[in-house]
Amino acid sequence: MIITTHHLNRRGLLKAGAGMATLTLLGGRAFAQEGVTLTPVGAMVKGTTKPGPYRIAFANGFSGNSWRAMAIAALQAEAAKTPDIAEFVVVDGQGDINKQVNDIEGLINQQFDAILIIGNSGSAVAPIVKQATDEGIVTAPFNLPIDGEDWSTYVGTDPQKKGATLGKWLSDALGGKGKIVALGGLPGNSYTAAGWAGAQEAMSKDIEVLAFKDAFWEEDRAKVVMADLIAAYPEIDGVWCDGAQNATGAMKALLDAGRPLVPVTGDDYNGLLKLFKAEKANHPKFDIGLMSEPTWQGIFAMRAAVSLLKGEEVPKQQILSPAMITAANYETYLRPNLPDGVFTDNSLTDEELAAIFKA
């Protein structure tokens, strides 16, 4: 197995202009950002040239989980490598919609050149983002969309398509018929709503959905909810989740109840990969179909913002097709020595991850 370091990898590929597929063919660890397809959606937008180097800010809606911590680390690493960026600042909205609006106001007053955003509420931050855009600041929301069109450029996955792909995978894994339960994230969040809507359309008609419950993307809540569902339904053939913390909690609930593990969907959470490796020999039906929610997507928002500041053109929206992780390739993503909370489709080296998780 060829282990390539992060820096060599990128420069080498850029120089050679070789196909991204070469990396996975070599069997090296998957640095998925190198192999990504970014589909442009909408018209091209052009920025007004500003003299560099640039001051960029990130208005993060909420910092209390490992996905956000990794996203911030990826952005900071990218900013450090980009000579065009003089300053990169992160502001934490603490999960509070009002606070985030105030944060963005503050960033406007401090005259940052570009603001990246993950909004706590797509509708609530839209007006203040519009104000920033009107004042000539490049606004680049990513991961969670913002209502309307008054922002410069957006990068993200398409949760409806992801949900549909996962739903189809689960449906196929069950041979087109069976009984499933579905676990979503925070109650009422639009990411789960779009994903589950996509999944329901994509699944075969003979798949019976026993229940859909919100599990807060927390292992402990998912375990408790699943335990109740296990008591209610003697036969559960599969579990649809958008976040694999839910999947891990659900599988642990099945283990505690002495029931066999079943096909499950989710994202690139390390905890589920570890559980799969440990238990797949004991449970022949256990299978995983995962689509990553890449923590490095902010890097593309940052690059797009810098391009706009240099006066170049970028697409209005760039939609990522994330990596599909299955039993066939999960070992390239698994990080056995890192904590469960690592999102394994990431652009950071093991040393950088160890530093974040102090492992």
Binding site: I72, P187, F216, A231, A232, K358
Partner: protein
């Protein structure tokens, strides 16, 4: 016919909430036969243990006339500290548990000092502590928690003895200890006196400040134990793990019949309250009610129970 006065006496001291528990169980079993299974009853008791242990601590503080909103932060911090010190190794177990318990005593004592000596309203003081505890957990992990509970430790959360889940046994044990403390010691009498009327208690010679500091220390200690049990159940760290307990612990105590003004209530009633809330949650999960409706039902039940208790106490 001698049984009836005895039953009534038991109910009065244990709390009318147990009638509600029995009633809810019957109703939910009629609607969903899955509730009848022994496995489901044990599951509910197991899940109720975490809320139950935490609510024991909340009972003490509410009896004293205060409230402890920092239990959620304590649970989260305990979970984070325990897993990061244990790192999955059995030899680190005792050290990790000891550190958490000592931390809890200190934090509880600080809460008590803020309330009793400095005189800050309990609502504000503990709300501030909660934010600080969560902030400490966030700074300590940098947003990226690491660590794991040791396999041997997880027996406390996932194991069972004669079919009864381990967390439930621990909960029953702690509840028994608390009943002894509140009903059988001088401290217990001082606590009820302080809660009923702090000024009168002070004039009677009750060391009010020390009683309050001990009350908040107990509350933090029990929240820590709840956090340790939860860590044993899940095995992993999570920055959101405590959030669900912030107000449900208070709700369990209130539904059990304690007055928020202090001096009225008891441990057995809180145990019933915790079971009731968990039973309700489990039942709404099984009948596939949406999360929003679940919240509405829980809120309505809490309001109704407070009104019912007020009527009952007026009738006395």
């Amino acid at each position: 016919m001698q049984a009836l006065p005895l039953i009534t006496k038991c109910l009065k001291s244990a709390g009318a909430v147990w009638i509600a528990v029995a009633g809810l169980y019957v109703v939910s079993s009629l609607i969903s036969p899955a509730m009848f299974q022994v496995g489901q009853v044990l599951n509910i008791l197991q899940v109720a243990s975490f809320l139950g242990v935490i609510a024991l601590g909340q009972t003490v503080v509410i009896l004293s006339g205060g409230i402890d909103l920092s239990q959620a932060g304590m649970v989260t911090l305990t979970n984070i500290v325990a897993t990061s010190l244990m790192l999955g190794q059995t030899e680190n177990m005792v050290f990790a548990v000891a550190v958490c318990l000592v931390l809890a005593l200190l934090i509880g004592a600080v809460n008590g000092i803020l309330v009793a000596v400095i005189g800050i309203t309990p609502l504000i003081a503990t709300l501030g502590s909660n934010a600080i505890l969560f902030g400490v957990a966030l700074v300590y992990t940098g947003g990226a928690p690491r660590g794991a509970a040791a396999e041997a430790f997880m027996v406390l959360g996932t194991g069972s003895l004669f079919g009864v889940p381990a967390p439930t046994l621990i909960w029953v044990l702690l509840a028994a200890v608390m009943v002894l403390l509140l009903r059988g010691t001088v401290y217990g009498r001082w606590l009820y006196a302080t809660g009923a009327n702090a000024r009168a208690a002070r004039l009677m010679g009750v060391p009010v400040e020390r009683v309050l500091i001990a009350a908040y220390a107990l509350s933090a200690l029990l929240a820590c134990m709840g956090g340790l049990l939860l860590t044993a159940y899940i095995g992993n760290p999570s920055l959101g793990i405590g959030n669900q307990f912030m107000l449900t612990a208070v709700a369990a105590v209130v539904v059990g019949g304690a007055a928020l003004t202090g001096g009225v209530g008891g441990i057995m009633a809180t145990v019933g309250g915790a079971i009731f809330i968990t039973l309700l949650s489990s039942f709404t999960n099984i009948i596939r009610v949406s999360t929003g409706t679940q919240f509405v039902i829980q809120g309505v039940i809490i309001v109704l129970s407070v009104l019912a208790y007020r009527k009952l106490s007026q009738a006395r």
